[in-house]
Structures are given as C-alpha cells and as structure tokens.
C-alpha cells in the first residue's frame, strides 16, 4: 500500500540573491543559477526571470505552465518521473514541497502557421482585482520565467522543452528544503477504514488529443489512453503533468494536477466520510463515438471492480470532452454507482443558452463553476509581466490584442484558470 510522507515548507518571502537557498521560511533564488539551468536546453534562446509577490497587482501574459516546487528527500524515485526523473515507482518515501511559491513559465510560443486546434493559445492572468478569484495562485510568490525560443524548434520540441523547464526549476528549488524545518508533515496513505464506509472513485479527465493539447503520465503522452487507475500519491509526485500550451480557460497547469482540489478533498475525507478507492484517469475528446463508449465502459467497469458506490467526475475540456463524462456517468448510474459531475458552462455571453453541450438523463447531480462565455472586465494592473499584447484569432494568422490597461475579454477562454475545472475556486452559477 502506497505510503507517502509529504513535508510542507511554507515560504513567507522570496528574494533574488547570489545562491539559491532556503533559510527558515525565506527563499533566496539565484537568477544566474536558474538561467543556466533553463538555457541548458537549446530550445531556448533567452530567459528573463521576474518575481510577483502576493498582494502585487500584476498581469502575467502567455503563461505556458505553473508548477509547485517539489522534490524527493527520501525513498526511491524522483518527482516528475519520466520527465525530470527516471521512470521509477512514485508515491512512496518522502517528498518535500514548497508551499507559497510557484514556478511560472511563459512566452510567446511560435505558432508556425497553424490555425486550428493545435495552437499555443495566449492567455492572461491577474494577481489582483476581480481576476484574482478565478485561479488558485493569488496568494503565492510567483517566479515567472519569460522564455524566448530558438529558431527551428518544432511544436513537439517546444511543448517538451517548456514542460521540462518548469519542472527542472521546480525540483531545484524544492531540493533546498532538504535540511530545513517543515511547517507540516503528513503521512498520506489510503488505509482501509476502521468502519465500513462507501467506496468512492474519482474519474479524472484530462486533455490529450495532440500537440499543445496534452497531458503526460510518467512522461508519456495520453493521446491513446485507455482509462487507468492511479493512486493519488502518484499525483503528488508529479506523475501527471500538463503539456498543454493551448486553450487556457479550461487548461490545467501542472500545479493543478499536483494540488487537485477534488483529490485533496477526497483524501481529507478518507476514513471518515468515505473510502477513497483511487483515481480513474482518462482522456476525453475522442473522435470516434465507439472510443467514447469505450472510455465510458472502462470507467464504469473499473469503478464496479473497485466496489465503488460513488464517483465524482471532472472534465478536461468542454464540448467534445463532455460526451465521454456524460456517457460514463450513464454507465455508472446504470450500475448503481451514484455520480456527481463538476463542470463549467457555455451558456452564451448573456447566460441564457443551454449550459452544457451534451447531457444524459442520469446526470442528476451537477456542480457548476460558472459560465465561461461571460465577458470579463479587468482593470489595469500595476505592471504587465510579459508582452503587453497577446495574440488572438489564429485562424486569420493572428491579431495582437493589447492587454496593458483595463481590458474586456469577450469570453473567459483567454483567462488562465477561469473554468475552475478542478474546483479550486468558489465560482458558480446563479440563476437570475
């Protein structure tokens, strides 16, 4: 049985200095060391490092990933197995995490002429004002790595390079915790409950249908994923990472996979409210109806095999992705497994349209994180970290959209994290 000792080191201050060290709760970061670490990858021509402290009003543009610093300090294996560490068992031993600081990679990823789905869409994220409630990073020190790309790197290369850069830095920072005093030590283990409790599973849907719209498990892309069972401790180690540089309102950064609010809630309630039996990882957005049916059946069968009486679902995207989840909900309910779906809506700009693109009669329990089609008015921030304009309309070759000063986003898909796909935030829908 997987048993992970998770040590949390709360960070109260971050500053730049000569060497990267952690003293008490103060993290010092060496720009030179980290710059050298990132630029060891020839995919990058330059990197600029900036710090945004909690409480500052910054607009960060073109975020590609957000990663929480974690590193192993005991036992076998390493964090981000298959990417930064070898493919070895994850989820046991001892892992250190720095809470209160996050590594943010950003940059204008070249579009290389594509116009459709596989584009590194640009986003904005505000650390203050109304936008600060729409993502989980507002209370964190954000170390923003603004990446510039070398010529001649193709999409696959860009995607991998960006992903690895964030993870390498994240691990390097967390390694500094090794001798420090943790704020919190938890033992995470899904021990059998003392009294019988209903078994529940989490059907975790991720994106993986092609470059820039991907996720990785132990470093392997999930484009062909048949639903598979994962232990939440593996997620804590960064076994599941982002890779997606596209579609941000709904996009899940690596940080979100590491700190999944649904997983945290299920772990917290294990042994008291339920018996958390595991995570059924799957991808949505299959192009064949039969593939969607396969996903639905595999999820329901796996849940049944585990003796689950309940299943909670989250989505990796809307539209096409909603179908897999709904069909799986139908199959689960038919087997007597009670379901809850956490999703956002596309109810049109005025909130009056059909909220979901597809539904089944069995989906009787839905929690909504609000309407992603609603316009979002954002005030000016004190500074812009990154380019003062982002690119929109890839289908006509790209058009600059200036984002310094107050802006109105016609739809929230340009705002990082706004779909609240894993339920971190308090967003919801109220009928008027």
């Amino acid at each position: 049985m997987s048993k992970l000792e998770l040590r949390t080191f709360d960070i109260d201050s971050v500053a730049f200095g000569d060497r990267t060290t952690l003293l008490g709760r103060a993290l010092t970061v060496s720009k030179d060391e980290l710059r050298a670490l990132v630029l060891a990858d020839p995919a990058f021509s330059a990197v600029d490092i900036q710090l945004v402290r909690p409480g500052e009003a910054a607009r960060i543009t073109q975020i590609t990933d957000v990663v929480e610093p974690r590193a192993k300090s005991g036992g076998t294996g390493g964090v981000f197995p298959g990417l930064v560490s070898p493919v070895e068992p994850a989820g046991g031993g001892r892992t250190d995490r720095l809470r209160g600081v996050a590594v943010v990679t950003s940059g204008e990823v070249p579009w290389l002429g594509t116009k459709g789905l596989f584009v590194a869409h640009d986003s904005v994220l505000d650390t203050a004002g109304p936008g600060a409630d729409l993502h989980p990073y507002a209370g964190l020190h954000l170390l923003v790595f603004r990446l510039s790309f070398a010529d001649g790197v193709d999409h696959e290369g860009l995607e991998r390079a960006v992903l690895l850069a964030g993870e390498k830095v994240a691990r390097t920072l967390a390694l500094e915790a090794h001798d420090a005093e943790p704020s919190l030590v938890e033992t995470r283990e899904l021990a059998p409950p003392a009294t019988p409790l209903p078994r529940v599973v989490y059907a975790y849907q991720v994106q993986s249908q092609g470059v820039f719209m991907r996720s990785r498990l132990y470093g392997r892309i999930l484009d062909e994923l048949v639903p598979t069972l994962v232990h939440p401790n593996e997620l804590a180690e960064g076994a599941l990472t982002s890779g997606g540089l596209g579609g941000h309102g709904a996009k899940m950064h690596t940080w979100m996979h590491q700190n999944n609010a649904v997983v945290e809630g299920l772990i917290a309630g294990h042994g008291t409210r339920w018996d958390f039996a595991g995570v059924i990882l799957h991808r949505g957005h299959f192009y064949l109806y039969e593939d969607k049916q396969r996903v639905a059946l595999r999820i329901a069968e796996t849940a049944s095999l585990l003796g689950a009486s309940g299943a909670i679902f989250t989505l990796g995207g809307a539209g096409n992705n909603t179908t897999e989840a709904m069909l799986a909900i139908q199959e689960c309910e038919r087997r007597g497994i009670k379901t809850v779906l956490l999703t956002w809506e596309h109810a049109g700009p005025d909130g009056s349209d059909y909220p979901l693109p597809f539904g089944v009669a069995e989906a009787v329990a839905i929690v909504s994180t609000g309407n992603l089609d609603e316009p979002l008015d954002l005030p000016a921030m004190e500074r812009v970290v990154g380019d003062p304009a982002i690119r929109v309309r890839p289908e006509i070759g790209g058009v600059p959209f200036p984002v310094d000063g107050p802006i109105r986003l016609e739809r929230r898909t340009l705002y990082a994290g706004s779909a609240n796909p894993l339920g971190f935030g308090r967003t919801g829908s109220v009928e008027t």
Binding site: V340, S352, A365, S368, N371, E395, R426, G428, T432
Partner: protein
C-alpha cells in the same frame, strides 16, 4: 380588443387600486390562440402597438394548457417588443417550460380558487415592472427560473460543494443540483424528398472549410455567422485551395483533402449517375466549438431562408 378591464381584469384593477389602470383587454378563444400561436402572437403585437401600454398582464392560466400557451406567447412577444410582461400559471402548465425563458411567469395554484391571491401578486409584480424597478433572482422573487445564469463567487470552493453533494447522495439524503439540464427541443422529421432524382441538394458544413486564406475571416469558434462559397463547375474541393479553420478538431486530414468534410467529389459522381437532380451551386459553412445554441438556431433559420429562396430541396449537413 376591448376597452377597460374585463373578467379577471376587474379583479386585477381592484388590486392595482390607483397605482395603475387596465386600459384594454385582449380576448381570444384559447383554442384559436393555441392552434396558431404564430398569428396569435402577431395579432398581440399589433394590438400592443396600438395601445401604448406600460405593462402586459396575461392570465392567470392556472392549469389550463391552451390558455397557458397563449399567455406565454403574448408575454414573450411583448417582452421582445420592449414592453414588460408577466403572467401566472401552475407548474404543470406546459406554458411554463416553453415560455419561462422568455418572460416572467409567477407560480399559481392548479385551479381558479386561487384567483384573488394570484391577481394580487400579478398586480404588485406588474407595478414593479412598470416602474422599472430591479427584479431580483427567481429564488428571491418567486417567478419560475428563466434559465439565465450569471457567474458569481459562492461561499465555498466548487470542489467542496461537489464532495458534499456526493456525500449526500451516498447517504441517500436530499441534494439540489446546481444545474438542471434543460430539455432538448425536438422537431418533427420533415417529410421525405418526393422526387430525389430531380432534387436540388445543397451541402452545409460546420467543419470550417473555407477558401485558403480565410478571406472572410470566419471565426474558429463561438461562431455568429455563416458564409457560402461557389462550387459551380467544380468536380471536387482541391487540396491547397481550401483549408479548415475549425478550432475543435485535428484539421490535417481535412486540409490534405477537403472532400473529407465537404464531400463534393462523391456528390458529383452521384449527380452524373442521376442518383439525384443537381448540386446547388454554393456550399454553406460555419463552425461549432462553443457556438451558442441561440446563435445556432439563428444561423439555421437564416440558412434555411436562403435555401428556400434558392429552391433547394434537400440538404446534406456534415458535422465535425
């Protein structure tokens, strides 16, 4: 149309007191109204234009189905014209599901035994509408939810709300879903094409196939418009001359062979074999990807009108 209050209008006038005046009553047999809601609605519109009213009150219809439809239609037309409107009917009345998104409908009992009390509520609500007061949410004001949703910050994180809902379901306790899926509207299948051998057939696609370069700048998602492009004299869609700008699927196959999404080559072959009459000279294109249902309906209506005007008999619509 008669001057002054008639029937329930008299009771309504009593409830309004000096604050409002029922200037006219529109009377119609409920059968006549419900059998042809389209022309009934049009008559309501002309009547309202002639009257200069501040508010329209319809019903109360209680459980009378045809009356409910007529009330709903009348109020929906008024609201669309900018004249505030309100009606009242029982939850079971079919008018509720059909019209609650288009006008305010207050709850009412099943029979006219509740008339005085319902008229009181209608009068108060009508006065507030006439005074242009802010109307709160259905939970507060009591009217049937209009299916209009606004994003707000609730008290607790969504994950906690979802896990609480799961707990409740596992314990067999009552729970309230935050979202109830509206019913899908179905239409009766159109009659089949009578004479396929002579039929003019048009191609529509939501797959985003446009001439290379996207000359009309068709959006890749959240569509609000449609376009047509000529295919007269073309035996197929040539790769390199067309591309897909759709943001919801891998477009490499479609770009290599646009006929995968707009099957012109197959249509031409069957046209030559006289399996049908002719291919209409233009194809229609839009995209899906988050396109609102209301926009889709409007796009569909406009395309349908264009098809009719061009004497198209049938359509093959390809979806991606």
């Amino acid at each position: 149309m008669r001057e002054g209050p008639i029937g329930p209008g008299i009771g309504l006038q009593k409830e309004l007191g000096d604050a409002g005046r029922v200037v006219a009553t529109f009377i119609c047999g409920d059968n006549r109204a419900a059998t042809d809601l389209e022309s009934f609605g049009a008559e309501v519109e002309s009547a309202l234009r002639a009257q200069k009213a501040d508010v329209l009150v319809a019903g109360p219809a209680f459980n009378a189905g045809r009356y409910g439809l007529a009330c709903g239609e009348a109020c929906a037309r008024a609201a669309a014209m900018g004249i505030p409107a309100v009606t009242a009917m029982n939850l079971e009345n079919p008018g509720v599901e059909l019209y609650r998104r288009r006008t305010y409908i207050l709850p009412a009992g099943a029979t006219a035994l509740g008339m005085p009390e319902t008229l009181g509520r209608l009068a108060r609500f009508a006065l507030r509408l006439a005074r242009k007061e802010t109307i709160g949410s259905p939970a507060v004001e009591g009217f049937y939810g209009r299916g209009v949703r606004k994003t707000q910050l609730l008290e607790r994180p969504a994950a906690d709300r979802a896990l609480d809902m799961l707990s409740a379901r596992l314990a067999g306790k009552p729970f309230t879903s935050e979202l109830v899926l509206p019913p899908v509207e179905r239409s009766t299948p159109a009659p089949p094409v009578k004479d396929i051998a002579h039929a003019r057939i048009a191609i529509i696609t939501t797959g985003g196939i446009v001439p290379k370069g996207n000359p009309d700048k068709l959006k890749q998602s959240n569509s609000t418009e449609w376009r047509t492009y000529p295919i007269e004299g073309l035996d197929s869609l040539e790769a390199g001359r067309y591309e897909s700008i759709h943001a919801g699927y891998d477009t490499s196959a479609a770009n290599a062979n646009p006929n995968y999404v707009v099957p012109l080559d197959a249509l031409r072959e069957l046209e030559r074999a006289h399996a049908f009459g002719s291919v209409y000279s233009r194809y229609y294109v839009t995209v899906g990807v988050g396109t609102a249902v209301t926009e889709s309906r409007r796009i569909g209506r406009e395309i349908a009108a264009d098809l009719r005007a061009n004497k198209v008999d049938a359509v093959i619509l390809t979806a991606t």
